[in-house]
């Protein structure tokens, strides 16, 4: 079976581990436990090219991805960058963060993800979307599971393309 390394990036507290938990086990917990270092999960996703094993590196959140050891990111074939829709500080410097990632990992598909959709209304979401540097952004809710499966499935397709 084909395997791909996917890294999960984003500032602390944006819900990276909750997203993985929802994707892996269809679970959500309000308790916040900070990730230490890195946690690795594996999930098999079915694509039109056949099954794909996604080896997901849930990397502890930092104020900027520059503080994360480069070796954690090297060799990645997919990136999920998560921000918190209810915290401006988690997405105000997205331009620079994404540009750095594209330099470090050229031609690697990046999924930009706004988490905690359930905390905002449609009007607020539209306002936020207008400010974002990428048009292709997925709003999800790790709490309700909305768009979580789709997010990983779309990334899997982008990686095997």
């Amino acid at each position: 079976m084909n395997s791909k390394k996917v890294i999960l990036l984003g500032k602390y507290g944006v819900g990276k581990t909750s997203l993985i938990r929802q994707f892996m086990h269809k679970e959500f917990s309000d308790a916040y436990l900070t990730t230490i270092g890195v946690k690795i999960e594996k999930k098999i996703v079915t694509t039109n090219e056949g099954p794909l094993a996604m080896i997901i590196w849930d990397i502890a959140g930092e104020s900027s991805h520059r503080k994360i050891p480069p070796s954690y990111k090297l060799g990645s074939q997919g990136i999920i960058y998560v921000f918190d829709l209810s915290r401006l500080s988690t997405y105000e410097a997205l331009d620079r963060e994404l540009s750095d990632l594209k330099t470090l990992l050229p031609n690697v598909p990046i999924s930009l993800v706004g988490n905690k959709k359930d905390l905002l209304n449609e009007k607020d979401l539209d306002t936020i979307a207008a400010k974002l540097p990428l048009v292709d952004v997925t709003f999800i809710s790790a709490r309700t599971g909305e768009n979580v499966e789709k997010l990983f499935h779309d990334l899997a397709l982008a990686m095997v393309r």
Partner: protein
């Protein structure tokens, strides 16, 4: 009317003293009641007594309750033998196993030193054999009791940490995740120590050792249980090198690891490494 008045006056004269006493008594009862019901007042009176008692208990706890506590604990342990054994057994087991392996390693070193001083034909024959690639004399003796064993072997891509192939006698853990975690540990050691030219070579966990051999675009991890002796380590190194040279570093494989045929790697890992434990005995 006058009669009533006189009677009332008489009553007053007769009970005047009694009334005064009753009122005084009621006042005292009120005061006592207040002393009991108002926390601060009660505390100020009782605290010194309690403090004295606490101090006395602290000083004489052993005399007063020592026997009872010991008896209770003994009874508790007696009644919960199974739970106590269950809790202690794995810890004691691991301690003993680790101790025995460590002692064998020390014994192996001691025997080696001892044998260097011994001059006999038999020893010379064994020593000559060991010089020509056979196991060391110390190892021959120690190996009758405890052998190192290769439990698992992994071939992992350097940067991505993706598993290229593995061979395992019996594996309980997901090998893709194991490969990822090993890469994360390696990366962490490299970044934390800021020594790019140096590599993590061994990870020890109780009686297990994870031996890491680095190559340019991939690395090999061998999980070994038991005391690692130089002979086994050399044999393992030789087998890994032979495997890499004959299977991975071939012209077709060198085209790029992405196109590596994982089935070829897995199949050959078994061929190369399944015999390594047998040849030790």
């Amino acid at each position: 009317m006058a009669k009533d008045y006189l009677l009332e006056k008489l009553k007053e004269l007769l009970f005047e003293e009694q009334d005064a006493k009753t009122k005084e008594l009621l006042k005292r009862v009120d005061k006592v009641e207040q002393g009991l019901n108002v926390r601060q007042e009660l505390e100020s009176k009782i605290a010194p007594i309690l403090e004295d008692n606490t101090h006395y208990l602290q000083q004489n706890f052993n005399i007063l309750f020592g026997k009872t506590v010991t008896k209770t604990m003994k009874r508790q342990i007696e009644e919960s033998k199974d739970e106590v054994v269950e809790a202690l057994y794995p810890i004691i087991g691991r301690m003993i196993k680790k101790y025995v392996i460590k002692e064998f390693e020390l014994l192996s070193e001691r025997v080696d030193r001892q044998m260097e001083q011994v001059f006999s034909w038999d020893n010379w024959i064994i020593r000559v054999k060991s010089w020509f690639g056979g196991p060391s004399l110390a190892h021959v003796m120690a190996s009758r009791f405890v052998e190192p064993a290769l439990e698992e072997i992994f071939v992992i891509e350097q940067l991505s940490g993706l598993l290229l192939g593995s061979y395992s006698k019996e594996s309980a853990f997901d090998q893709d995740m194991m490969a990822g975690m090993m890469t994360a540990i390696k990366s962490f050691a490299q970044d934390a120590l800021s020594k790019e030219t140096q590599q993590l070579e061994i990870v020890e966990y109780e009686t297990y050792k994870l031996i890491i051999k680095d190559f340019s675009s991939f690395y090999v991890v061998a999980a070994v249980s038991g005391p690692l002796n130089p002979h086994f380590k050399n044999k393992l190194d030789d087998t890994i090198l032979a495997f890499v040279n004959r299977i991975i570093n071939t012209p077709t494989m060198k085209q790029g690891l992405v196109s590596l045929d994982k089935q070829v790697i897995v199949g050959n890992l078994e061929t190369y490494f399944s015999q390594i434990n047998d040849s030790e005995q």
